[in-house]
Symmetry: C2
Subunit: 393 residues, 2 copies
């Protein structure tokens, strides 16, 4: 309890942009997010009043931090499960709990659990030796998707494997390096979708509208909310799937369910979804909610971990488009000048910069545009992101 405000203290492990935007939402709730950061130039450390420094893999540092908070949550999935368990046994409230978070940390555990729950997995298999991968490819057809069970994100830790020869070499190398692997069929997807749900310790669940996520080189570049031309049956089924998973896994806080949409003439609406990945925190596919939903995913995550009732998830406009801003080559037009140009060109674009140094391909911010007509809103969002990335049209 913060004696100055009479409110419980929420701590977030990790000082990246998710903690930065969660702090922004915390301010409205009378809170000041307590952040465990690695360095003073972490995005959240630049803006939060209450920052401690320490490594999230260091149990002693985590313990000191956690014991100063009423509830602890996470900006990323990299805190060792054993540490979370140890602190929970010492009486610290950590959300999501270790037994839930595990399914966002380890893809093999996730696939096994989804299978047991009857949730829609692609064909998949653990890869303990190269032959597992080669056999799987022969069965389901090449190419196949090889994944590190742990630690991958934004396209890292994922390999498209073309044939048996490549499979044997790559699997041997990765297994020799100690990487735990699974392989999945390459799903014949129409597009990618995502659903955000939030769940409180009490068990209240709130789902956001289903969105379409557009990837380039394995990185999300654009989110369209709501997912255009999504049959109502499929939207409801995807939301229900996410709600069921949040409940079955015991998630507290946000759960992002990334989905593949697959054509299926036998399914209602002519398509079905397959689960791609899970994340248990505010997620890039939900950044549109800051302006595009009545309650942002960051406020919702705080409400969930505080066990407050969930906020209204409805859209604030018929069409919302979020475009990520990836860093280009360093140098060129200064970021301050790029902002000027962007604001002059798009007075309605909402900008979110994360306080990061520019590096090629690094997410340095995002822009959101709201409107009534998808093509127009999408064009404006892409143009706004280009101004920030390139400094010119």
């Amino acid at each position: 309890m913060d004696s100055r405000t009479g409110l419980p203290v929420v701590g977030m492990v990790g000082g990246g942009q998710l903690a930065r935007m969660t702090h922004q939402a915390a301010i409205a709730l009378g809170q000041s997010l307590r952040v465990l950061a690695l360095a003073p130039d972490d995005g959240a450390a630049l803006v939060a009043a209450d920052v401690q420094y320490g490594d999230h893999t260091d149990l002693a540092a985590l313990r000191t931090f956690a014991k100063s908070c009423d509830v602890v949550t996470f900006d990323h999935e990299h805190v060792p499960t054993g540490h979370i368990r140890a602190l929970a046994e010492e009486g610290v409230k950590l959300f999501p709990p270790a037994d839930a978070l595990l399914h966002a940390q380890d893809k093999r555990i996730m696939r096994e659990r989804l299978g047991a729950l009857g949730a829609p997995n692609p064909a998949w298999r653990p890869v303990a030796e190269p032959a597992d991968l080669v056999d799987f490819g022969a069965e389901v057809g090449w190419p196949v998707v090889l994944k590190a069970a742990r630690g991958g994100y934004d396209g890292r830790g994922v390999w498209m494997v073309a044939d048996a020869a490549q499979a044997a070499d790559l699997a041997a190398t990765l297994l020799a390096g100690g990487t735990s692997l699974i392989v999945e069929e390459r799903v014949a997807l129409r597009r990618e979708l995502a659903v955000q749900v939030a769940r409180s310790p009490f068990g209240q669940v709130a789902a956001y509208p289903v969105v379409e996520t557009v990837q380039r080189d394995g990185i999300c570049v654009e989110v369209l909310a709501p997912a255009p031309d999504l049959p109502e049956e499929l939207a409801v089924a995807a939301q229900q799937l996410a709600i069921d998973l949040a409940t079955a896994l015991g998630v507290v806080g946000l759960l992002a369910v990334e989905l593949f949409e697959v054509a299926d003439p036998a399914a209602p609406g002519g398509a079905r979804v397959v689960v791609n990945e899970l994340a248990m925190r505010p997620h890039n596919s939900g950044h549109w909610t800051i302006e595009g939903a009545r309650t942002s995913q960051f406020e919702q995550h705080l409400r969930a971990v505080l066990d407050y009732p969930m906020g209204d998830t409805s859209l604030t406009a018929p069409v919302v488009v979020m475009a990520n801003v990836l860093g280009g080559e360093p140098g060129g037009i200064p970021i301050d000048e790029r902002l000027h140009h962007l604001f002059a060109a798009e007075p309605g674009a909402k900008v979110h910069l994360y306080g990061k140094q520019v590096r090629p391909g690094r997410k340095i911010g995002h822009v959101t545009v709201l409107g009534a007509e998808l093509d127009e809103v999408r064009t404006r969002a892409a143009r706004a992101a280009r101004w920030l990335r390139e400094g010119h049209q």
Copy 2:
């Protein structure tokens, strides 16, 4: 320039809720507001990373703070004009400039200037001795409104004077205490309105829709956006007046123009406006813009002082109602529990708490509700504010 982000540093003198909410808006722009606060439990000091401590009337403290910033702006009107002038002469950029801010600091100077500009003043007069007040009352009719030229807010520094006897006594007492006074006719107002405009150093001006402000005991309790049933001619005239004043006074940043609406059968639309007060900063009458306009007044103020192009000021819903939350008696249901009840009752209400200790009548936060139908939205906003104030329906 902040070398970590490549962006200019904005400093705000004063650490109250306006600085707190400006910091929240700054985060999205890649900024971290630098705050000059009085104490660590100031609302903004609780949440901002970059806080210096010092008194705004201490020139040395102001100078140290100002010279660490690229541009300095204000959370309140209490910085001495001479200090602002002195720092400006030393090369510091301060917005609004002293010559503009003076009109929000001194009501006599404001009335004189409005008169010279042909802007709509009530009948008024400076009060140098008790007879000035008595004579004015006899001329325009009792009661009249006596005002301290400097330092009043939220009903303080304003006296309703009933008759000549009271006038003579009160004026003598106040003048003996060194208070500079003006007197104004009691305007036969229909209601109070307000307009926010922002102006950049370049001279770009953006106006928000005209709102109705509802006062109780001299304190704003409710803001209705847009002002209901306002004739289009009057709305345009009020916005134009605010734009003209911002330009004529050389305002940089936000200008809030508080207005009386007065019936006038001869005017287009059957009514005209009279200027009540000016404020040159984000203002309580503009808190509704956080969720209710595409660009919040806090972001707009930052864009203005940074000389960025102005953001879109359109409404995000047909009806937006903001209700202030005033502190009740200390004790009773803890604020954390009140939030629970409020969120359960009104999942769509947007809450803003300022991190303040509860004191009777003190503004501790506000709530905003958006919707389509005024009576319903107003009822919901009032109910949400009551939950926070009372902890019960």
